[in-house]
Amino acid sequence: MTLSSLVNSTVTFPLSPGTSIEIPLGRIISALIILIAGVFIAKIVKREVIKASRSTTHVWIINEETASALSNLVIFLAVIKSLDELGVLSYRIWGIYLSNILTALLVFYFSYLLAKKSKDYMITRAPQNKLPEAQVKAKLFYYSVVTLSFFIALNIAGVSGELSTLLAAAGITGIVLGFASQTVVANFVSGVFMYFDKPLQIGDAVRLKDSSGAVVEGIVEDIKIMSTRIRQWDGTLLRIPNDKLFNSEIVNLQKYPARRATIEVGIAYGADAEKAIEIIERILEEEPYVLAKPEPRVYVDRLDDSSVVIRIWAWVPSSRWVGENLLRSKYHLLQRIKEALDEAGIEIPFPQRVNWFANELKVRIEEPRQDAGE
């Protein structure tokens, strides 16, 4: 058998009982060569991009991830070309041309990569003060592009018509799915609304109170399209669905540079209230994190059952009056007030009650019996 006759011979592949495809051996060899060349070129491309990434300042685009993506693209194109060489692209799978399926996959995969890269670029290039906003914008862009490219890919594959028919036909299933995905949709829509409402941003210290009255506090770590992550003061991560967050009471503890802290101190009725106020004012004056302006206010607020309550209004830097910083601000201040009042002999009382008896109280003291210990 000569080489030309060997090359022109055909190989038969059985597909299913009764059907088979015949492909000339020459085409199989060509397809294999294209595939091997594709893999080879992909490796070179990957190596060169990685090499370039070590010396470039544009690391956000020229990096190992891009190298892998480009390498995958070359291999993918080589696979398509090989299949074309074999002449199988015109075959149909479930009534859809194989070429359409592969093109759809290519479009979706690279749209996804493009969206991801763009998202990373938007985040890394954002100025520090606009980072939280840039992160949310980048994610919205990313999800929009991925969703759009998904439907474009379906259209290219030629299944959008069939998909519509299928969805219309499965109306009941759609309703069921609709109910099932209600929470997902609610979370998504709440996430979008929160983006425009901006009750909190990444990096903000917040206090959240839900309808049951449960309170959580922490720093906003991330706002995703479906949920928001809060790093609580104890270091645990709390994931809150956006729908639930949107319906919570949100107190932003750091929205403004300063906030007013309220502290109450009870002193005994016998203590000199004016002297106590003077002492507290002196301590407030000495404390760094009690702002000199607006000036703090100290006054007798009310006369309680067991104590005269002195209220302190002190303006403090918002960033110093949250989380761990409370140790050096609030709790330090409380300790100093307690020590100063103790030093001045001003009693901080505990609850006490004076009982008056309608009739004179008679007390009989009995001597212990002689035999009690025996």
């Binding site: 540079p257 702002l291 000199a292 302006k293 607006p294 830097p317």
Partner: protein, 213 residues
């Protein structure tokens, strides 16, 4: 007090603070100030003890409130000195060894609670000659308007400002306040307030600051 120190076992006194340097073994030193301890190798460098702006926990502004109000006549200029808080930076080569406060730390809200900013706070008399204080600001008031202008406090940019020093004193750059539009415009000129002072870094002016409040 401020300046460069040849590394050897010694005490350096900075205001109320005391720095203790001990040569542990040839060329290797231990720096100690209270609870702060650093071990380093000299590498032929000297220890620089220089003044730094009083940024505290990281504020950008300094508010100095005057003990008395000052009134500037139309088309007149006035010069004053103020006392001011400073911090101390200890550097070895370009590496920071320590940074600390030697003045009272206090802050204030400049502006409104919604749109203001937290500033380092200080009270000072208006001195007509250089006061005997660790930190000094020289203030030059310029009123080129036809109105009488009054002022009871000054706000200036702190962050990234150059500082000047002599062995005994730290100086902020010359601060000018111009009343040209009715709103005082504060300029941290970056220039030395007197001759013969050493800058802590390349002297550069900072952006002008409009005192709206």
């Amino acid at each position: 007090m401020f300046g460069e120190y040849k590394l050897r076992t010694q005490f350096i006194k900075i205001g109320p603070q005391k720095i203790h340097i001990v040569e542990e073994r040839p060329g290797v030193f231990k720096y100690r100030r209270g609870d702060v301890k650093v071990i380093f190798k000299a590498g032929g460098e000297r220890l620089r003890v220089i003044p730094g702006p009083a940024v505290g926990y990281g504020v950008k502004l300094l508010m100095i409130e005057f003990n008395e109000k000052v009134v500037v006549p139309p088309e007149e200029e006035m010069d004053f000195f103020l006392t001011a808080p400073v911090e101390v930076e200890v550097l070895l080569g370009s590496a920071p060894v320590d940074r600390f406060n030697i003045e009272r730390e206090k802050y204030a809200l400049y502006g409104t609670p919604e749109t203001g900013a937290i500033a380092r706070y200080w009270r000072s008399e208006l001195h007509t000659s250089e006061p005997d204080s660790l930190g000094v600001v020289r203030l030059h008031l310029v009123n080129m308007t036809r109105k009488w202008m009054e002022m009871d406090h000054v706000i200036m940019y702190l962050r990234d400002t150059v500082m000047y020093y002599s062995t005994e004193r730290a100086y902020y750059p010359l601060i000018t306040v111009d009343f040209k539009s009715g709103v005082p415009e504060v300029n941290n000129t970056g220039k030395p307030p007197a001759d013969g002072l050493t800058p802590t870094k390349e002297p550069l002016p900072l952006p002008n600051f409009l005192m709206r409040w």
